[in-house]
């Protein structure tokens, strides 16, 4: 199964969670996603997600100078975004628990790799 199909649903929530940690920008978000183990999340994948979140007023964006000089977009979460994130966390934990239960036969945790 294509990774991107799996990612589509959860990326928005994860990006929202990163922004909820504090004001951040595109390059930093890509780094944070990579650090968390998401591979191949480039600017191309991230940008439409950020635009969607912005359009839905879940994040707000301000423009300011970056240390290197060019204008940079800084993103921060809105009150609506916080609510949406809580909602996402709740729904995700329920769905993932069900998925784990179906895939690995337990509702509690993932199987430990040997």
């Amino acid at each position: 199964m294509d990774n991107s199909q799996l990612l589509k649903g959860i990326l928005e929530g994860c990006v929202l969670a990163i922004i909820a940690e504090g004001e951040t920008y595109g390059y930093e978000i890509i780094g944070a996603l990579e650090k968390a183990g998401f591979e191949d999340i480039g600017e191309g994948t991230l940008y439409p997600v950020l635009t969607r979140l912005d359009k839905n007023r879940l994040i707000r964006c301000r423009r300011a100078k970056s240390p290197l000089g060019p204008v940079r977009k800084y993103y921060s979460i809105t009150a609506e975004g916080k609510k949406a994130l809580d909602d996402f966390k709740d729904r995700y934990s329920r769905i993932s628990a069900s998925a784990i239960s179906v895939l690995f036969g337990t509702k509690k945790s993932l199987p430990v790799k040997k």
Binding site: E43, Y47, L68
Partner: protein, 352 residues
């Protein structure tokens, strides 16, 4: 062009990704606002990655085409059609200006042959569609693209429109005469509707009726890039000139700066000459209209105002270009004199 300046700050693969995103955006008829929005963001990310030595593939993945597709992924088919009203807006301005001048000059007794205009616009539309839908696609696939080539194409479209208008005026005997005034009002109304709709859209989305993205490019950072590029171009030109002149024994390293100062004095006179030329051109055009016995006083005033307005815009454009170039050259000469080195030495140190 700011994108060209941004591109030059990037090296190797970073530059290729930026260029590809630029051409892809144009190819997909992405609006200018979205193009500025995406490319300035991408530029910041690529520049940071380049400075930190981060692999470009971590930003753009392994397929540039896929990356570009994703970058503009939220651009819907409906958005793609938005270039049509924008294109009509440009042509409405053309009709408005031409017909307003025709009307105030009263060359067609209140009627105008719209055929050359329609022919020119038709050629422009066909040419633009061919460029966007065929040529740009081939350019992108060939991977030997340069966004500058697209700028040349835009110039070609403009030339094609003009040629189409001139050609039809001289070689097509058929005429489609329509009253001039409704044509002016029609194009004026379209411009007003488009302008209002755009202002509402901007206000709703960005809280201002101004183009926030264009404003962003007025930031000092981009201005500095532009000025640095201009300085480099001037210094390279001077360097080549000095090499040629010194090879022929016409100039010494010490005398070169004096020669440049003399040139600047001549340029200043030429610039003033251009101002006078525009003013004289305007006065003579008005006098020529005054000698026409059928020209009424009200028509003459209207003509003078319209002609004056468009001539002023043209003059201001060229005057700005001249002033900018002259300012940079004078600044470089001043800096050279202050450092106490010869101009060739100064050029070498700057270009290094």
């Amino acid at each position: 062009m700011e994108f060209e300046l941004m591109k030059e700050q990037l090296n190797g693969e970073y530059r290729k990704v930026f260029e590809a995103a630029w051409i892809y955006g144009i190819m997909k008829n992405v609006s200018n606002e979205m193009l500025i929005d995406r490319l300035t963001e991408l530029y910041d990310i690529l520049l940071t990655a380049q400075t930190e030595g981060r692999d470009v593939r971590r930003i753009a993945g392994s397929s540039t085409e896929r990356f570009c597709k994703d970058l503009y992924g939220d651009y819907t088919p409906f958005d793609r059609l938005k270039f049509i009203p924008r294109m009509i807006y440009t042509y409405a301005w053309c009709i408005f200006v031409i017909e307003l001048l025709t009307f105030t000059a009263d060359t067609g007794n209140g009627r105008t042959n719209i055929l050359p205009c329609l022919f020119g616009i038709g050629i422009g539309v066909v040419f633009e569609l061919v460029c966007r839908l065929v040529i740009a696609k081939v350019m992108f696939k060939s991977k030997k693209i340069s966004p500058a080539a697209w700028n040349n194409m835009a110039l070609l479209i403009f030339v094609a429109i003009l040629m189409g208008m001139l050609f039809s005026q001289h070689y097509i005997s058929a005429e489609l005469n329509v009253p001039t005034l409704p044509l002016i009002i029609g194009s004026g109304v379209y411009i007003a509707i488009f302008f209002t709709a755009r202002s509402i859209y901007r206000y709703k989305n960005f809280g201002t009726i101004r183009n926030v993205h264009k404003q962003m490019l007025k930031d000092n950072y981009y201005k500095e890039l532009s000025s640095t590029q201009l300085e480099t171009a001037v210094l390279k030109g001077w360097g080549k000139r000095y090499e040629k002149m010194s090879a022929k024994g016409k100039i010494t390293a010490e005398g070169f700066v004096e020669r440049l100062q003399k040139d600047e004095r001549i340029n200043d006179i030429a610039n003033r000459g251009f101002d006078i030329f525009v003013a004289v051109l305007y006065i003579f055009t008005i006098i020529e209209r005054m000698t026409d016995p059928e020209q009424g006083a009200f028509d003459l005033v209207c003509y003078a105002l319209v002609m004056g307005f468009f001539l002023f815009l043209t003059w201001r454009f060229f005057a700005d270009v001249f002033r900018k170039g002259s300012g940079v050259r004078k600044k470089l000469i001043q800096e050279c004199l202050q450092t106490g080195v010869t101009m060739p030495e100064y050029i070498n140190s700057r270009l290094q």
